[in-house]
């Protein structure tokens, strides 16, 4: 009888190096499934786990080993992730008060800044959080560059990272227009003119962004949609892929650490 609870192996399990995760070599699989069916009865956690296998994945992820020598430079990636989360949260609160229209945008920000409880504070967090996130993403990129962490087998994660960098800069650019004060307006005019000088697609892209003969009503709505839906969605999805690869491949050991050759090094090509 085919075992109904048999499930495909999940990423965390394989990279767990035996530390905590359920063993997942094919032979024990079936039995394990039955076990899950037996144990799964207890409580909400058990219920969710029986249907998702989440604990296996989570223990695998949490108790996976990080290589010897992992130091503070390795916190820069998660710090970037944290800054992005902070931006998402403060951004939601800003969106509750902001109106993306050229006649009301400025006033809605004035209202938010002056009248709303903690309004200026949250706006400040979003504004300076952007600066902090940019700094962190560059530092994190610098770390992976100087540590040679973009080399085999992590090339793909570097490529995803560069796309994340570009998208983060796009966030900075589109967010800058939204307060719709003089600074932001004129900076956007210049940025748009610069885009228009680009070869082939430049003029079309500039037209698309401006969405009209001048930077104005339609531009601000477009930038708003890009800034709070399109790009954050892409960033979140790509961070997911980035994190998946980090867990799957493991983070590098610092480059100056050389492993002494293990005595009877078995040839083992499995990653992670």
């Amino acid at each position: 009888m085919p075992n109904p609870l048999k499930r495909p192996s999940r990423p965390g399990e394989r990279s767990a190096n035996g530390a905590g995760a359920n063993g997942s070599n094919g032979a024990s699989r079936g039995a394990q499934g039955v076990e899950a069916a037996k144990e799964g009865g207890g409580g909400l956690v058990g219920w969710v786990d029986e249907r998702s296998g989440a604990t296996g994945f989570l223990t695998g992820m949490m108790f996976r080993k990080v290589p010897k020598g992992t130091n503070w430079f390795y916190t820069l990636g998660s710090a970037t992730l944290f800054a992005f989360t902070a931006q998402a949260i403060t951004g939601v609160f800003l969106a509750m008060y902001y109106t993306p229209s050229p006649t009301e945008a400025y006033e809605s920000i004035t209202h938010l800044t002056n009248d709303v409880w903690m309004g200026e504070f949250v706006r400040g967090m979003h504004k300076w959080g952007a600066t902090v996130m940019i700094c962190l993403i560059f530092l994190h990129m610098g770390r992976t560059f100087f540590f040679g962490a973009y080399k085999y087998p992590r090339e793909l994660n570097w490529v995803i990272g560069v796309v994340l960098l570009i998208l983060t800069l796009v966030m900075g650019l589109t967010g800058y227009l939204l307060p719709f004060d003089q600074r932001s307006y004129w900076a956007t005019v210049v940025a748009n003119n610069i885009t228009a000088t680009g070869p082939v697609v430049g003029p079309y892209l500039a037209d698309f962004l401006r969405a009209g003969p001048e930077v104005g009503a339609t531009t601000i709505q477009r930038f708003y949609a890009i800034h709070m839906l399109l790009v954050p969605g892409l960033i979140a999805a790509l961070i997911g892929a980035h994190m998946y690869l980090v867990v799957k491949l493991g983070t590098t050991a610092p480059p100056w650490l050389k492993a002494e050759r293990p005595k009877n090094a078995r040839k083992k090509t499995e990653v992670g």
Binding site: F63, R64, K65, V66, P67, K68, T70, W72, Y74, T75, S78, A79, F82, A86, Y106, T113, E120, G124, M125, W128, A130, T131, V132, I134, F145, F146, F147, G148, A149, Y150, K151, Y152, P153, R154, V162, V163, I166, L169, P179, F180, D181, Q182, R183, S184, W186, A187, N193, I194, T197, G202, G216, T252, A253, P255, L257, A259, P262, K267, T269, V271
Partner: protein, 235 residues
Amino acid sequence: MKQSDKEQYLIEYEVLKKKGKPFFPYAVAKDSAMALVVVLVIVVMSLVLGAEQGPKVDPTTTTYVPRPEWYFFFLFELLRVIKPPELVPLATIGIPTICMVLLLLLPFYDRNPERRPQRRPIATTAGILTIIAMAYLTFLGAAAGTPTEIDLEVAAEYEPGKQVAAQSGCLACHKIGENGNDGPGPELTEIGARLPREAIARSLRNPPQGMPNFSGLPAEKFDDLTLFLASLDGE
């Protein structure tokens, strides 16, 4: 990277990983401490620096110097370093695009298996030079400030136009006398000798690439401005 290098790496990595500590709690503790620092920095910046609102947008009076966020200064400065107009698209689009493509493809052309920074002199030097160049350009951008003053001595009749020029942000891209930035636009100190007044007015109404449109200026200010610029003939 040769197949043997790959295998070698994976074997060594496996050993170093086995000797490591579990992600939880060791790495999680460090990450959390770092997250705390990040949130503290953001909160302190927000409290100390606040979130001031600039003057309301006004497309007609252009009294504002277009200035990007500080993290785009290096791009903006690039425009100033590269002056010849036919090269402007290169600076605005070409160089950033090339840099991004080079960055994206890095793992594909740097196929050296070595990872220690001191054993990768080319990569490490290139990285450090890039950082220095970006820091220098950012510094230049920050030091350029928000220029709204023109120190040129002019006859009284040209004073109003001088004020308009100073307030309209021309100095962000043009040098006039001792003030303003040397690029991306050409120096205007002797513009009157090069262009008649009508041609200057045309440049403002149908601006060349990379310059905002100033046709929205009130007619009187516009006239003052062109009068002032046409008077700058190097005398």
